[in-house]
């Protein structure tokens, strides 16, 4: 949608060749999936559960400040692990090949107020199929923000830095509302739609369970540490929400990432679909720990090309993908987390205001006179 198409130099044949090269990378990983990968996800799941158990245990004594700090930090990390490296990736079907019914996209439920099933539809199907297509991919601005110059500005957008901040703090609720397409469905007629009501009910049930666990049961179990445990859980949820919101913003919002028009994807070939994923996503550079804590969404480009490959393989895939970017002279958008977060927020602020008027050339009167 930007004035200059960064892939304009590629011919149709080149784009299909690119697609075949990416397919080859995918096939190689699939052929090599095995015991090590299975051991990896089992280890991560087991570590997450142990960390959560221990942290919740420590929080029983959160009336003592060191216990509060330790427990809150542990619980925050456990929640991030649950949502990012485990939940997001299991729900993508990345581990379905193991045929373990307990680690499967159809059975997994995560520590999040949006029920897995609804999120799978809005994320896997809508966002990953129609990545960055305005009007089709609701992830772009979550329906509350203006993310591209070509979108019409409305005074409502003045508030978008604030909406985005609130969304970051209560991100899981934002996602639940987004999965329900709440904005669209709150119209009187749609509210009565039985299908919508059933989904809203499911979200209500999940919220009730999550809130009951975090803000009633665990604080009650803590007895005299009731209030401090409550505060600890709230903090852990806040940390998890802000963290995942930041990571996710880095995936498609930073400068350099392209968005697409609805009509541009009509009759899209596999190669063109791949190309759109490449230009519509951005990575985060950093250490192994960084990749782990982002659920390997720091390899957002690779994840968007191959959403169903096991997350522990994205790092090795990234080397090959990056070489393809160079070969086809495309921009591989990446940078450290602070830079990418800043870039994304900068865009949110910039687009909250109407577009700057392009400078219109005023006719040079003197020249005209001379000419005359």
């Amino acid at each position: 949608m930007t004035a200059i198409d960064p892939a304009a130099h590629l011919t149709a044949e080149q784009i299909e060749e690119l697609g075949r090269e990416l397919d080859a990378i995918r096939d190689e990983v699939i052929a090599g999936r095995g015991e090590k990968d299975a051991a990896y996800i089992r280890k991560v799941i087991s570590a997450q559960r142990k960390l959560e158990l221990v942290s919740r245990g420590v929080l029983l004594f959160s009336i003592f400040p060191p216990a509060w700090l330790l427990g809150t930090a542990g619980l925050s990390v456990a929640k991030i692990m649950d949502n990012m490296e485990i939940g997001h990736n299991v729900l993508h079907g990345q581990w379905d090949w193991m045929r373990d019914p307990k680690i499967h996209s159809t059975t997994w439920e995560w520590d999040h107020v949006s029920p897995s099933e609804q999120w799978r539809h809005s994320h896997n199907e809508l966002h990953h199929t129609y990545t960055n297509v305005i009007g089709k991919d609701n992830d772009l601005g979550y329906g509350i923000m203006r993310v591209d110059e070509d979108q019409k500005w409305h005074p409502f957008h003045l508030g978008q830095p604030l909406w985005n901040f609130l969304n970051a703090c209560f991100f899981e609720y934002g996602i639940a509302a987004y999965d329900l397409e709440l904005g669209k469905n709150l119209h009187k007629r749609r509210r009565k739609n039985p299908e919508f009501r059933a989904r809203a009910k499911a979200v209500g049930r999940k919220i009730r369970k999550q809130v009951l666990k975090d803000y009633v049961i665990h604080p009650l179990l803590s007895g005299p540490s009731f209030l401090t445990t409550l505060a600890a859980t709230f903090t852990a949820n806040l940390v998890r929400n802000i963290w995942s919101h930041s990571v996710i913003m880095c995936g498609h919002f930073p400068e350099g990432v392209q968005v697409f028009e609805r009509r541009s994807i009509k009759g899209e070939t596999r190669g063109q679909w791949y190309l759109r994923q490449m230009m519509g996503s951005a990575n985060i550079s950093g250490s192994k720990a960084m990749h782990f804590m982002t659920g390997n969404l720091s390899h957002q480009i690779e994840h968007h090309l191959f959403p169903d490959l096991p997350s522990n393989r994205y790092a090795e895939v990234a080397v090959k993908v990056r070489a393809l970017f160079e070969k086809y002279e495309l921009e591989y958008v990446t940078g450290p987390l602070p830079k990418q977060v800043f870039s994304a927020w900068h865009k949110v602020f910039r687009l909250s205001l109407p577009n700057k008027k392009p400078k219109v050339k005023t006719p040079d009167r003197e020249q005209e006179l001379v000419a005359a």
Binding site: S46, R49, K50, H92, D100, K206, Q210, P307
Partner: protein
């Protein structure tokens, strides 16, 4: 309040504590074999039997209900990270004091699970278990005369019987390529030495396949015996015909191991078993399209293999992944992405 009601309340509370997981998800970390857990077993020893067969000693979880001699158990083993299920006859007697059970596995060429169990199984490994099942068992009332007719690994359920109950008059005819291929050979010969068993070994590499007509010569009173036969389909087909021809088919009990070899073709007849529809499919059209065309309500999503919104159980047959060409054969618990899978031979989709 009764103690059962109290327990159920306590469990409900525990579920609230662990939501969205279940208490068992945490308990499994420390005690996977406990009562109430999904049934699993731990491999405690692996004893080689022949060059390509081994006996696996398994400690089953607390929920194990015990078996009847001759029955089999389905076990789920993770091979290269993929959980595969196979059925194996139980070879241990029912009264084994330590509560362990054994299966005896013969590695078949290209057999993923059998080779894994025979060559790579180690003590400590966890496996998934189902309760034992099968009606290839001995009757309540002891028959006066018994014949066991077995070949290859067909001896395994019969060994479970032999070890379980002693009969007064037992004859066994067992076929194997060579003497060293006879599983449990030492134990069988010990039984023979103790006069508890009369054994005829047929070594097919030298003697050729057993001609069922030779039974008259090997076991002249075969028709009077209650017979349990287990082995390859050819042997069992011949036995069934032989017993029927002599009008004594009620004395013959057979067990067929069905090897899960699916011959993958290109397209085939697709059955949507929940809807009861059957249609012909070519080898290039996604099963999702085939189903929708036939008016079956199919779950769908991205239609390009990325969202996993269309996964559906494959109950029988085989499908081909249209992206990689990879063949997936039906096994319990196997789900396929219908939007990128085409029929590779006849198959059954649970829709």
């Amino acid at each position: 309040m009764t103690s059962a009601a109290l327990r159920s309340r306590a469990w409900k509370l525990l579920e609230m504590v662990t939501t969205p997981l279940l208490p068992s998800d945490y308990l499994d970390l420390v005690s996977p074999l406990r009562a109430g857990a999904d049934l699993r077993g731990r491999i405690e020893a692996v004893h080689p039997e022949t060059g390509d067969a081994a006996t696996i000693v398994i400690r089953p979880g607390r929920g194990w209900r015990g078996h009847t001699a001759g029955q089999y158990v389905r076990i789920g083993v993770d091979v290269d990270g993929v959980r595969l299920w196979r059925a194996y006859s139980i070879t241990s007697p029912t009264n084994r004091q330590d509560g362990r059970v054994t299966i005896t596995v013969k590695a078949i060429p290209d057999g993923k699970v059998s080779n894994h169990l025979v060559r790579r199984a180690k003590p400590g490994m966890l496996i998934q278990l189902n309760q034992p099942t099968g009606d290839f068992v001995l009757p309540q009332a002891k028959p006066a005369k018994v014949l066991y007719l077995t070949a290859g690994s067909g001896i395994t359920p019969v060994m479970g019987m032999l070890r379980d109950i002693e009969f007064d008059d037992v004859v066994m005819v067992h076929c194997a390529p060579q003497p060293q291929d006879v599983i449990f050979r030492n134990e069988l010969h010990d039984l023979v030495a103790d006069k508890k068993l009369r054994l005829t070994e047929v070594h097919t590499d030298t003697d050729g396949m057993l001609d069922i007509a030779r039974l008259d010569e090997l076991v002249p009173d075969w028709a009077e015996r209650e017979t349990w036969a287990c082995g390859p389909a050819g042997l069992l087909d011949a036995a069934e015909k032989h017993w029927a021809d002599h009008g004594v088919q009620e004395r013959l009990h057979t067990e067929r191991f069905r090897p899960s070899i699916v011959v993958a073709g290109d397209g085939g007849e697709v059955t949507f078993s929940a809807t009861g529809k059957t249609v012909d499919a070519d080898g290039a059209t996604p099963l999702l399209d085939i189903g929708e065309e036939a008016g079956v309500l199919m779950p769908s999503g991205c239609r390009m293999g990325i969202c996993f919104g269309c996964v559906t159980p494959l109950k029988a047959g085989a499908v081909r992944d249209l992206r990689t060409g990879e063949i997936t054969a039906a096994e319990p618990g196997v789900l396929i992405q219908t939007c990128v899978s085409a029929a590779a031979g006849p198959c059954d989709i649970e829709r």
